[in-house]
Structures are given as structure tokens and as C-alpha cells.
């Protein structure tokens, strides 16, 4: 038990060190972890994996870029002209490519 606690604390402090170097608000990280756990499993194991993943993503892109990728992902639900404009070209492609490669890297690191 004690060993586990120490492990947990060290994980937290390490995570803390990593986050200080990027501009992701805690709310954005929490939302990612929440969504990630919801779509995988709501347990301690995935809380760690998902937290690791968002920290890895945050190392590879700015929050501004992430927010843009998030907006594009949201728009890709629809099929109207508005959404069409954001599917595959220009900024959209750039942002999504960056997000996908950050996601791929985070998967290698964390899962």
C-alpha cells in the first residue's frame, strides 16, 4: 500500500512538472481525461493512461492548435456546406494531422 502511494505521488509530481511547460488549461486536460475514461474504462488504470495521453499531446501542440483541432472534429459531425469547408483542406488538414500525430505518439507512450 505504501509503495503504491509513493508511486502515485511521484506520478502526480512528474505530471505536474510536465504540465508547467505547456499552456493547456486544467479544464481542457480534465475534459480529455473524462472523455477518454468514458470511452475506454472508468478505472484508475485508465485515469493514469488518459492523463499521460493528454500530457503527451500537450507537449506536441499548443492549446490554440488543440482548440482548433477540437473545433474541426466537432464540425465533422455535420454534412452541410458549413461543415464541408472544414473537412480536408488547408488549416483543417494541418491541425488534424498535427493532432493525429500527437495522438499516435501519446498512444505509444501511454497505452
Amino acid at each position: 500500500m505504501r509503495i503504491f502511494l509513493i508511486f502515485l505521488l511521484s506520478t502526480i509530481s512528474l505530471t505536474g512538472m510536465k504540465t508547467s511547460s505547456s499552456d493547456f488549461p486544467t479544464l481542457a486536460r480534465s475534459e480529455f481525461v473524462f472523455a477518454c475514461m468514458s470511452s475506454n474504462a472508468s478505472n484508475r488504470d485508465f485515469m493514469a493512461k488518459c492523463s499521460c495521453a493528454i500530457d503527451e499531446i500537450a507537449k506536441r501542440m499548443t492549446y490554440k492548435e488543440y482548440a482548433q483541432a477540437e473545433a474541426i472534429a466537432r464540425l465533422q459531425y455535420g454534412a452541410s456546406p458549413r461543415e464541408e469547408a472544414y473537412k480536408s483542406v488547408g488549416l483543417s488538414k494541418e491541425r488534424m494531422d498535427k493532432l493525429y500525430s500527437a495522438q499516435a505518439a501519446s498512444e505509444l507512450e501511454c497505452f
Partner: protein
């Protein structure tokens, strides 16, 4: 042509008699800045609040006062109303309406859902309506009549009058049936606001992608009885025009002005939808609205001007008769719907006092007209990227189309490239605001171009009738897809322009605090100085913003409200893709798991000073 119409008069609620005419009572309420009683703030569509507690010196410290989750995903356009101490909030499909008690921590007084047992009042299933609904299931909001009625224009085109106090149905009538496939009314949907004038409520219709023939229909507010209907195209009597009295460019339009401009009877599926934000001038007793694109998107099959698609309509709201019409884009080849908002401003134009109408069209031109006579005063590009026409000929009112960007000139199955703007228009429905202090118009815009390839399609009732393949991208020379601009409608010039990474798809609101609010697709609620465009405030809401800002006071304090909500919840897509790329967006299992934790969906964020 007879239109299949079914009226259901539910619970015969009694309308209270009132001494003052409803029109003047509603107009009086619009002048009270403590309330927000109409989607556009007022009949003139100014979207201007006289409140100045929140102003350019303190807006930077604005904080979230409270939030409200609508529980409905997808696009949340329009905005809430505030009548007295009650706020009315609507949602995307299924078009729920909530009444919130501002005196009691936004407690839900009543909640109304028009979909019962999976069906809308008109009898169509919600799934069928969604299948023919363009654009993220949006609805542009409810409106209020001073006899205590909230009116909802639901997605199946049902017009629903609700008791503002209890949420009980007073009457329901289905305007046009969605998805029934009846010739000429197939697949019409409702997304535009119901527009209250005097003791009537008028609605347009959506669905030009489905070969509908759209119209404006006016109903009696007390009974729901149909009063008149004016089609966007067809015989004179269907359009409610007088060949000798109705004018265009100051001249009578003459007999069969529409029929002559369509091959055969193709006007019967001619489109011309109406779903933007409208204007009304009580002194001139004139209603103003714009009509959308002609069907199909393939222009080759419908040579002619396709009147009166793409047209500003000025009509008498008592009987529907058209006073004047102005077609902005004759023979549309790009889907530049003319539905955008009509802003009525008394202003100097070229040194002369005018009762003006200002309209930022999808086609990239901003028009200033004399709203009494229909005279064209100014027509200038409000995005320098616009290239499909060189200019508008001020004598004829016709845009001078460039062959290189004419999809009809290039022909069927030819990909016409680098057309600006894209089909989204330089601006879509997202309404601009008029800043009464600086005299400038605050305009949310798109900065997107496209390739457009028309192809032949056969019309099948109730099915999409598009007939063009499009791809869109940022305008040349940049990577940003939008601008928020300050516009001088007299000179026809951009005064300032703020680039935005995405199209600005939210409605603007200017205030007497010298500031203007708008939102972005990333979800940022922003405030800028109206005179200069300088950014003073930015806050990230939970989703993208395509709703319209509004302001009101409660117990003497000013609040600013905005709906956010676009598409699905991105968090899930970004996160779900991690372990299973196929489980990305729209993962049903994940959503059901989430719904037990939190109310997802559109969120109303209300700001106030600390």
C-alpha cells in the same frame, strides 16, 4: 396547385383581450433594454443593447455568472429571450423550449418538447425530419407575442403557440409537411424564427436542397388560422405581386415576371427558401425578408433569371402584397442564398437622409437600399477576396459576372475553380449588428473560396436535389477562414477587420458600452471595441459558438448571454480515437456512458461583472 395542409387546434386556450394594439405593445417592450423580447432585439434588426454597465473599460473582467445545459447536442443557433423575470431557451432538434425563472436560480418553470413518441406534431418522425434537415439540426429561436404567447417554428414546419406562463399548447398548425414528398412541398423543413407582426405570426421554410417551392405564410396569433401565403416563385397570384404596382429597381415588374424566367414548369420545384433574420418597419408597415437559392445547384438545367429567388422582398404584412423586390443574384450558379438579415437604419447615404435597409448578402456584396422605394444606393464587396462578379451595375442592379468563375459558362461536369466566396457566402445567416454609437455595422464573415462542379440530377420528390460537387478552402494568400469586420454602409468600405482562424458563425451584438460581442467556432466568446475592433475580452465556452448574443438586466444588473453548441462533443472524438480509431466521433456506447455523468449538449453561458 393545392397544398395539403392539416391544422390541429389543440387545447382551446383563451387569448386575453388587450386594449393597446399588440404591435405597439411589443415595440414598446423592444425599446426596454432590460428585456430581450425578439430574436434580433428589435424589429430593425440592430442587435444593439442600450445597456452600458458592461463597457470597454471593464469588459475585461467579465465572469461567468451561470450556465445552463440544454441537454441537446448539435447546432445551437439563435438565442434566448428575456421577458420580465423569465428567460426562454430553445434547442436544436427536437426543438425543446425551456422557461427559466431568473428570480429562482434559473429553475425550470416549464419544459416543452414538440416531439412525442418519436414524432413531430405534423406526423413525421423525428428521424425522417433529421434526414432532410440541412445544417446541424439548427433552429433560430422562439419569439414572443404580448398576449402571453411563445411561438416555436419546429423542424417539421409546425408552428406551435405556447402559453408563456405554463408552456401549454394554445394551437399547432403544420405549415408544410416535411418529407411527405408531395409535389412542391416535399421535404420542407423549419429552421427560421417565427416572426410576430401585430396579431400575426409569419414563417418561411427551408429545403432548397430538396426541390421545394418555398413561401412566407402568415397565421393569426390567436387561432393559428392561415391568413396568406406568398410563394417565392410562380404565377403572380401565388407570389402575391401586382404586375403594375409591385416594383423592382423602381419599375413595375410586369405580368408573369417569374414564369418567364424559368424553363417550363421548373419553377414548381424552384427553391427560394426563407430562413434568415427578418425586418419590420411599423411606420411603413412593411415586412422585409430574403429568398434563397433556386434549385438545383446545377444552373445548366434552369437558364433564366429564376425570379424571385435570391431576392429582397418588401411586403405588406396585412395581406402579403409585395411592394418591391430586388434580385441580388439573378440565375444563381454558386448557391449564394439571399436569406441574410435585413437591418433597418435611418442614416445618411451619399449626403442624403435615407430610410435605409442594409443587407450583407451571401454573394459577397453589402447592399444599402432605400427601404421605402426599393432604390439601390450602395452595392460593394465586403470581402476583397470576392471575385465571381467585378461589380454591381447600379443602373440595372445586376452583378457583372466573370466568365472564368461562372459555373454555367464553364458547363456541366467541368470543375470551376477558385471561386470566391464559397457557397457558404461571405456571410451566411449569422446576423450582423448595428452600432448606434459609431454608426458602423459589426459583421461576422467567412473568408472561404471553392471549386464547384455542377452535374445533372433528376428530381425525385423528398430527396436531395443538389446537383453539384464542391470543395472549399481558405481564400488565397492566407490560412484564416473568417474575419470579423467593422463596415461603413454609406461609403461601402471596411473600416477595420480582425482575422479569425475559422468562419465567424455567431451573431454579433453591439452595446452602448462601446463594445461588440461575437463568438467563434472554437468556442471563444469575445468582446471588441466597436470603433476599432480591438479585442478586450475572450473566454472559452464548452463548444463552438453559432448562436447570437443578447443582453438584459435582472435586479438592476446587466447580463450577456450566448448559446454554444456545434456538432457533437469533440472531447469524445479526440479521446476515443486513442485506443480504437473506429470508435471515434459519435461512439454511441461512449455517449450513453457519459450521459449518466453529465448533461451533455448545448450550453447557455451567461456573463456578468463580478
Amino acid at each position: 396547385m393545392s397544398i395539403l395542409k392539416k391544422s390541429i387546434v389543440a387545447s382551446a386556450a383563451l387569448a386575453l383581450p388587450f386594449a393597446v394594439s399588440a404591435n405597439s405593445k411589443l415595440e414598446k417592450m423592444m425599446k426596454d433594454p432590460n428585456q430581450w423580447v425578439q430574436q434580433s432585439g428589435d424589429y430593425a434588426g440592430h442587435r444593439y443593447s442600450e445597456l452600458d454597465q458592461i463597457n470597454k473599460s471593464n469588459v475585461g473582467s467579465l465572469k461567468v455568472a451561470w450556465t445552463f445545459s440544454t441537454g441537446v447536442l448539435r447546432g445551437h443557433e439563435g438565442g434566448p429571450l428575456v421577458i420580465g423575470d423569465t428567460m426562454y431557451v430553445h434547442t436544436a432538434i427536437p426543438n425543446i423550449v425551456y422557461a427559466l425563472d431568473l428570480n429562482d436560480n434559473q429553475r425550470i418553470i416549464w419544459k416543452y418538447n414538440p416531439v412525442k413518441g418519436g414524432k413531430y406534431p405534423g406526423g413525421e418522425t423525428m428521424d425522417r425530419v433529421i434526414s432532410v434537415m440541412c445544417c446541424d439540426n439548427v433552429n433560430r429561436g422562439v419569439n414572443y407575442h404580448p398576449n402571453g404567447t411563445i411561438v416555436l417554428h419546429a423542424a417539421d414546419t409546425s408552428v406551435i403557440a405556447l402559453d408563456a406562463k405554463t408552456g401549454k399548447e394554445k394551437w399547432i398548425t403544420t405549415n408544410l409537411h416535411a418529407g411527405t414528398g408531395k409535389y412542391g412541398v416535399s421535404a420542407s423543413t423549419g429552421s427560421g424564427q417565427p416572426f410576430i407582426i401585430k396579431d400575426t405570426v409569419g414563417v418561411g421554410c427551408s429545403g432548397a436542397e430538396f426541390g421545394v417551392r418555398c413561401n412566407w405564410t402568415s397565421y393569426d396569433i390567436k387561432s393559428g388560422k392561415r391568413l396568406w401565403r406568398a410563394y417565392s416563385m410562380g404565377p403572380d397570384k401565388d407570389m402575391l405581386v401586382d404586375p403594375n404596382k409591385t416594383t423592382s429597381m423602381l419599375k413595375p415588374i410586369g405580368k408573369d415576371s417569374s414564369l418567364k424566367t424559368w424553363p417550363g414548369d421548373s419553377w414548381k420545384i424552384g427553391g427560394g427558401s426563407i430562413w434568415g433574420f427578418y425586418g419590420y418597419d411599423s411606420k411603413l408597415n412593411t415586412l422585409y425578408y430574403g429568398t434563397g437559392n433556386p434549385s438545383t445547384w446545377n444552373p445548366v438545367v434552369r437558364p433564366g433569371d429564376n425570379k424571385w429567388s435570391m431576392t429582397i422582398n418588401a411586403r405588406n404584412p396585412d395581406n402579403g402584397m409585395a411592394k418591391w423586390l430586388y434580385q441580388m443574384t439573378p440565375y444563381d450558379e454558386w448557391d449564394y442564398d439571399g436569406v441574410n438579415e435585413m437591418i433597418l437604419v435611418d442614416m445618411k447615404v451619399k449626403g442624403k437622409n435615407r430610410q435605409a435597409l442594409v443587407h450583407f448578402d451571401r454573394n459577397g456584396f453589402a447592399y444599402t437600399m432605400d427601404r421605402a422605394s426599393g432604390e439601390l444606393l450602395v452595392a460593394e464587396k465586403y470581402d476583397p477576396a470576392v471575385n465571381w462578379a467585378t461589380h454591381v451595375d447600379m443602373k440595372t442592379g445586376r452583378p457583372q459576372v466573370v466568365d472564368r468563375y461562372s459555373t454555367a459558362h464553364q458547363g456541366e461536369d467541368v470543375n470551376t475553380t477558385n471561386i470566391c466566396p464559397a457557397a457558404l457566402g461571405t456571410k451566411d445567416q449569422q446576423p450582423a449588428a448595428y452600432d448606434r454609437m459609431s454608426g458602423l455595422f459589426m459583421v461576422p464573415t467567412n473568408h472561404v473560396c471553392m471549386d464547384y462542379e455542377p452535374f445533372k440530377v433528376d428530381y425525385v420528390a423528398g430527396n436531395a436535389y443538389v446537383g453539384a460537387t464542391l470543395s472549399m478552402y481558405p481564400a488565397p494568400g492566407g490560412t484564416h477562414l473568417g474575419n470579423f469586420i467593422g463596415w461603413d454602409a454609406d461609403k461601402g468600405k471596411i473600416v477595420w477587420s480582425n482575422p479569425e482562424p475559422f468562419s465567424v458563425w455567431s451573431g454579433a451584438m453591439a452595446t452602448a458600452g462601446g463594445i461588440t460581442f461575437y463568438g467563434t467556432l472554437e468556442g471563444y466568446a469575445k468582446a471588441v471595441e466597436s470603433k476599432t475592433g480591438k479585442e478586450l475580452f475572450s473566454f472559452k465556452t464548452p463548444s463552438g459558438i453559432i448562436g447570437n448574443f443578447m443582453s438584459y438586466t435582472h435586479k438592476g444588473k446587466q447580463y450577456v448571454g450566448i448559446l454554444s453548441g456545434v456538432g457533437g462533443w469533440a472531447g469524445i472524438g479526440l479521446a476515443a480515437g486513442l485506443t480504437d480509431p473506429t470508435a471515434g466521433l459519435g461512439a454511441v456506447g461512449a455517449y450513453s456512458a457519459l450521459s449518466s455523468h453529465t448533461a451533455l449538449g448545448g450550453v447557455l453561458t451567461v456573463f456578468a461583472l463580478p
